[in-house]
């Protein structure tokens, strides 16, 4: 049982003399033990902050002031430390890289058990049980950072559950995952809930899975819980949700299929052409190449959706286009230039690249400078640079942050700064690496609308995305990669027949196929009996 009464939270200001940021206001709700709760809402609504409050990070570790009461299974979060609360609550964060801090999978899971003084031989057994439960048996000795995003999140879940808490809190655990990785995470949660009663509270952008799994839905806007009900809320209040920026799944996600193209005909205006390109990472990479003999031609003015699983070579391909990565073999021609003969700085006038993580590309001390950096580096005069910066800030509503350091802005705004800093360079080619990951529907549409407009004015766009709806809606072409190979490439088939293919079923949320293995249940019973004997 979780009780939240009149919860408020103000973040301490980031800079001296700044105003405290109010991110939770008068939040009250109850959660019954054993239920699956989805927290939904637009970017910046306070979903993560609420998760932090339920895990006790607020008020114990974060800077700010809290009002109201949060009680998790009888423990008042402001009277107990996060570690004490961890007896009841497991917490999984959004960024897997920042929460797996050990150098092997087994140590991640051992950590909470060691802290509880569990005997080494039992820790050893528990590691195997947990890995089996999250479907990661055989990965015991692996280095966490060498795993895929979905696997890393499953390890994080295993580590959060190792000490058997009653409540699991997940803060957008699937934001960076491909559809298959997402399904893996939900499968694991379902499997665990079959073995024992556990409350799951999940903040999530993707309402499709919430609709399928949740018993209770909390809808947040501007730090307040505006609706609290069961999953039928998603259909009942559809208009309200959509107006705030939450996407409500409108039917199954589309199947992206390329029309067959004749390979012998080369397009006349291939602005990008890859000729037998292979790339092998040296140190740290595995032996198989990240890109394996990829050849393709992209016509001028195309809007290409680049899809494929995490680790299929999408980002590697994108970085070839401006020379950040040079092919091990083969030739890359972009804007009729051989990329290997030009420096990245020179290619910048032809190709704009927006990185996957906005934090990896923001480096100036004010938003204005950040957007001006590219145009200035291209050698444009001050008046033109000023005009372009102004244009971009108007477009993304950034004027109020003109002199603020972009690194201190919210996630959606950081994304906007990163995107506008590249668009301001007005390159004939734009490469976007998952530009809408972690953004709500409204912001994502605004981004893609802008990019679509540029595309109609002749800019060639290559967009890496896991969002099949966005690819179907905005892209003209699809390029699908798998293990460094091209699976399909060509104009997207938007006819009705393409949507009838059997592939569509796989993309829908569904219950995991395999039954829970009997060992889990048996071990659980054996463990309960041990506990009783101890008492």
């Amino acid at each position: 049982m979780i009780t939240v009464r009149d919860l408020g939270w103000k973040y301490a200001p980031l800079t001296d003399g700044g105003k405290p940021v109010e991110s939770l206001k008068r939040v009250s709700f109850d959660i019954r033990s054993g239920s699956f709760v989805g927290i939904i809402g637009p970017t910046g609504a306070g979903k993560s902050t609420l998760c932090m409050a339920l895990a006790g990070i607020i008020p114990n570790l974060a800077d700010g002031t809290m009002s109201g009461v949060v009680e998790v299974n009888g423990m008042n979060t402001s009277r107990h430390s996060v570690s004490a609360l961890s007896e009841r609550v497991g917490y999984v964060q959004q960024d897997p890289e920042a929460q797996l801090f050990c150098s092997s999978v087994e140590d991640e899971i051992a950590f909470p058990l060691e802290n509880r003084g569990v005997a080494p031989n039992i820790i050893d057994k528990q590691i195997d049980i947990m890995l089996d439960l999250v479907g990661m048996a055989g990965y015991r000795k692996r280095v966490p950072t060498s795993l895929s995003g979905g696997q890393m999140q499953r390890v994080a879940i295993a580590a959060a559950l190792a000490a058997e808490p009653d409540v699991l809190i997940l803060d957008e655990p699937t934001a960076a995952l491909d559809p298959e990785g997402k399904q893996e995470v939900f499968d694991v949660l379902d499997r665990i809930r079959q073995t024992r009663s556990m409350t799951v509270i999940m903040a999530e952008q993707d309402t499709e899975h919430i609709d399928y799994w949740a018993d209770q839905v909390l809808f947040m806007v501007n730090g307040e819980v505006v609706r609290n009900g069961d999953a039928s809320l998603l259909t009942r209040e559809r208009r309200l949700l959509e107006s705030s920026g939450v996407r409500v799944s409108g039917g199954p996600s589309p199947v992206i299929k390329a029309l067959p193209v004749r390979n012998d005909v080369k397009p006349k205006h291939a602005i990008i052409s890859l000729d037998h390109v292979t790339h092998r990472y040296g140190q740290g990479g595995n032996a198989s190449p990240a890109l394996d003999d990829v050849s393709l031609d992209i016509e001028q003015g195309a809007f290409v959706g680049l899809i494929g699983r995490n680790g299929s070579g999408k980002t590697t391909l994108a970085k070839h286009l401006n020379g950040l990565i040079q092919p091990t073999q083969g030739i890359v021609n972009v804007d009729w230039l051989d990329v290997s003969k030009h420096s990245v700085g020179e290619m910048a006038a032809h190709v704009g690249l927006v990185f996957q993580n906005p934090d990896h590309q923001i480096f100036c001390s004010s938003t204005k400078e950040e957007i001006a950096f590219g145009p200035t580096a291209l050698g444009l005069d001050a008046a033109t640079v000023f005009k372009r910066v102004d244009e971009m800030m108007t477009l993304f509503d950034l004027h109020r942050y003109e002199d603020v350091s972009p690194a201190t802005l919210g996630y959606g705004e950081r994304r906007a700064v990163a995107l506008s800093s590249v668009i301001a360079m007005r390159t004939p080619i734009l490469v976007l690496d998952e530009p809408t990951a972690g953004l709500d529907h409204r912001l994502a549409s605004r981004f893609l609308g802008t990019v679509g407009k540029l595309n109609r004015h002749g800019v060639t766009v290559i967009m890496i995305s896991h969002d099949m709806r966005a690819v179907y809606r905005y892209c003209t072409h699809v390029l699908e990669l798998e293990d460094g190979h091209i699976v399909q490439y060509g104009p997207i088939d938007k006819s009705q027949e393409a949507q009838q293919s059997p592939a569509r079923q796989a993309r829908q949320p569904h219950k995991s196929r395999g039954p829970v293995s009997a060992t889990h249940v048996l071990l659980k019973i054996a463990k309960d009996e041990c506990d009783k004997e101890e008492r």
Binding site: V82, D95, S103, G117, S343, V351, A377, L378
Partner: protein, 271 residues
């Protein structure tokens, strides 16, 4: 660079007790600092390579160490004779710049000493997993949290290194061209301007990495707390999954290390 500095493996150094490896590293560091003899330091350097090679640490990791130390080595070897004017056997003189047999020899010693010191550390860092490192430190009386902090810091060095690279890539992708001999406006840039430009471009990257590092360390702190780092149950002590035991081999290695260190110390004392 997935795992940080640790190279997963099962060589003899990997199996050696971390405490013994600490001692080996410290002894090598101390001896290289005390004895300024080029032949001795070269000997240590060769010994370190033999140890890493027989432990089957891949050559590219050893090459990586040389790569990061290269700038420092060149810097010191070139600057040493400039600032050290000692020595009587003058080989070449130009104004105040004197090259003597003695200061050239010292430059060579310094040039060898840096990789020797570096590899002395990497003998432990390459072959000791985070767990064993923490365990080794705690069993020597270092508080658990201090050990954990050190091990976690080491674990995240490559992460920050890759963020640094990524931000630097972002700068170049937005048109920063540090290699070109002309700037975007077509003006010629001399080597000095290019060097200053390069250092100027590093400053914002460092700030960006620091902001990211701060956020990430906060996140790691939350993750550790929410898995019970500071859990103080009454009467319950923290346990460790891995427990260290000194095998006979470890004792033998320990004795050899001490004997070797002792004899070297006697030799320096005699000479």
């Amino acid at each position: 660079m997935d795992a940080g500095l640790y190279v997963p493996g099962d060589g003899w150094l990997h199996r050696t007790d971390p405490r013994v490896k600490f001692l080996i590293s410290i002894v090598m560091l101390a001896l290289c600092l005390v004895w300024r003899n080029w032949a001795f330091i070269l000997g240590i350097l060769i010994l370190e390579h033999v140890m890493l090679a027989t432990d089957r640490v891949p050559a590219e990791r050893i090459g990586w160490v040389w790569k990061i130390l290269a700038v420092l080595i060149v810097f010191i070897v070139v600057l040493w004779p400039v600032f050290d004017q000692s020595g009587t056997h003058v080989l070449w003189q130009w104004g105040w710049l004197r090259l003597t047999q003695e200061n050239l020899l010292m430059a060579a010693v310094m040039g060898l000493r840096i990789p020797a010191l570096g590899f002395a550390c990497f003998i432990t860092l390459f072959t000791t997993s985070q767990t064993k490192l923490v365990r080794g430190l705690t069993s020597l009386g270092v508080p658990y949290k201090a050990g954990l902090t050190l091990a976690t810091a080491l674990r995240y060095i490559p992460v920050f290194f890759s963020i640094f690279q990524s931000v630097s890539e972002a700068q170049r992708a937005r048109g920063l061209d540090l290699s070109g001999k002309v700037n975007a406006a077509g003006k010629k840039r001399n080597i000095f301007v290019r060097l200053v430009d390069r250092f100027k471009s590093y400053l914002p990257i460092i700030i960006a990495v620091l902001i990211r590092a701060y956020k990430m360390s906060q996140s790691v702190d939350w993750a550790m707390e929410s898995r019970g780092l500071n859990l103080n149950r009454k009467g319950v002590k923290r346990t460790y999954r891995v427990n260290l035991t000194m095998r006979i081999v470890d004792w033998i290695i320990l004795v050899i290390a001490i004997a070797a260190a002792g004899s070297v110390w006697v030799m320096t004392w005699l000479s």
